[in-house]
Symmetry: C2
Subunit: 315 residues, 2 copies
């Protein structure tokens, strides 16, 4: 007898993620009942991964489980929030206990690492699609936004944007075949197991003027931050962190336009830039200007950035 939907939910997801005292009622009813921290704002984010769009067909289910939560934790990080609870809408073509077990452990291990309880969701039959929502909290009125950058603010990025895209290219055998296998594995892990910058986001609350996570490429997401803030951005390409194992020429397209990094891109008033420089794993990569659009500064020359970021529906 095939394993039924309800048994399936019980078996893999009833005890997935962290235990939290603020969960009054979790998985298994029509909804979850949660105690919110008094006075804080609620932060609510939602991101969906579709097989063949956000990850290659046949990907390791452990990675899919990790990434489906990580991309949402990254959105929480970009607001400076503390993640608390997750909901998971799992659409599956069929029931494969081994697949589900690996998926749940990828999801659950990352949830435990960030203190997140899985409190609800649903399971349906259909093309493989993972819809995840994360709910968290932030001090009232203090949540980071894309829209707060001002001309003169310094521009920073965390980590080494582009490594995830280089890792995906390696996984798909679309380049980088010359790299030693060990170095390819490092890049591939950046795609398969991105580490959301939740602690950094919280550290930026008193420092940053604007913040966005890089999911669709550095230049594209910078253009969104600049537009939301009514500013221009100057991006110093030579200041970008070098990708592990790649030289500057090979790094450039991945660093500027690669997606899936889930690093934070943020702006800081000059008076607070020194405090940000003291944080680990952040690099100053430019500044905000009056005007609009993204300008690249490279080898002493400037050029307008043309690429508008990854768009699922662009022709």
């Amino acid at each position: 007898m095939p394993l039924g939907e309800f048994q399936l939910i019980d078996r893999f997801f009833r005890a997935c993620g962290a235990d939290r005292d603020d969960v009054r009622l979790g998985v298994g009813d029509d909804g979850a009942l949660l105690r919110t921290p008094p006075g804080d704002d609620l932060v609510a984010v939602s991101d969906t991964l579709v097989e063949g769009v956000h990850f290659p067909q046949g990907s390791d289910p452990r990675s899919i489980g990790h990434r489906s939560l990580a991309v949402n934790l990254s959105d929480i990080a970009a607001m400076g929030g503390v993640p608390r609870w997750a909901l998971l809408s799992l659409t599956l073509p069929s029931v494969d206990p081994a697949w589900l077990s690996a998926f749940a452990s990828g999801f659950g291990d990352l949830a435990i690492e960030h203190g997140v309880a899985l409190v609800g969701g649903d399971t349906t039959r259909g093309p493989l699609t993972l819809g995840v929502q994360v709910l968290g909290s932030v001090a009232a009125g203090k949540g980071l936004r894309r829209s707060g950058a001002r001309p003169g603010d310094a521009l920073f990025v965390s980590g080494r944007p582009g490594e995830a895209a280089a890792g995906l290219a390696s996984l798909m055998a679309r380049g980088l075949a010359d790299l030693p296998a060990a170095e390819r594995r490092v890049l591939e892990a950046r795609f398969l197991y991105p580490q959301p910058r939740v602690a950094l986001g919280q550290a930026l609350l008193p420092l940053a003027s604007a913040c966005i996570d890089i999911s669709d490429g550095l230049v594209g997401d910078l253009a969104k931050l600049a537009a939301a803030s009514g500013c221009a951005a100057l991006l110093e390409v030579d200041a970008l962190p070098r990708l592990s194992a790649l030289d500057a020429v090979a790094s450039r397209p991945y660093a500027l336009h690669g997606g899936d990094d889930y690093e934070l891109l943020f702006t800081v008033p000059q008076a607070r830039a020194a405090a940000v420089m003291a944080l680990p794993d952040v690099t100053r990569i430019g500044e905000m200007r009056a005007g609009s659009g993204v300008t690249l500064l490279e080898g002493g020359r400037t050029s307008a950035a043309a690429h508008a970021g990854f768009d699922h529906f662009a022709g």
Copy 2:
């Protein structure tokens, strides 16, 4: 030039649903920032609709928009919650402005009716899938659950369960061809535009001992309520509301096993049953007993209910 993802979100969803003062930051950033009512519990629900599974291919997009929100509002209703905010994860095979406009109006009109603001979500390319989450509130510790029924409690249902399934059969030309067209349209509207019982759920907060919404069929959802409560249920089939335009014989399978009703099924201690009888559009259909499982009482005879409810993955 095709309409891009970001413009698409702006055009159809930036001003969808109700305006609410408690939305500090809505659609357009990495997440939403929301002010929760102090002291209340947060109610979080999530339900996904997949084309060809939850609605026929080629369904009216206005109905899809309505239903994708309605099924979630029904979950909020089953907890006795006040809906406040919604997130929408829209996976689309392609961009069709006419489709999106009709979808957004079906979603938005129901959202406005229930005072719900659309505050976030995402849009991706893939097989047509609608993932919706609704967040609401309920007095701390008072949210309705499936698990509170006790032997002796009276069993009630709202509306006329089975009409949505009869309407779907008519839409799919799988029966009911003998009915007059006007009566078929009434049944079809029950499937296409279910009305979630949000006000009833709130009215039940001081009255009901347990509550569930009927999405997978009356008998199956009653079995879940009984199991969660550690009770048996006696369902008086002859007491079930007659389906509009159908006689008792034709009604029976739809009423017992049809899904998609989004009516509330709830139990009430006998001392409060009279207060429930005074509510509009509710019918007493049985009672809870010691033991387990669902027993049907029909024409003076009892039988064990075999059907375990709709299961996407049952063989």
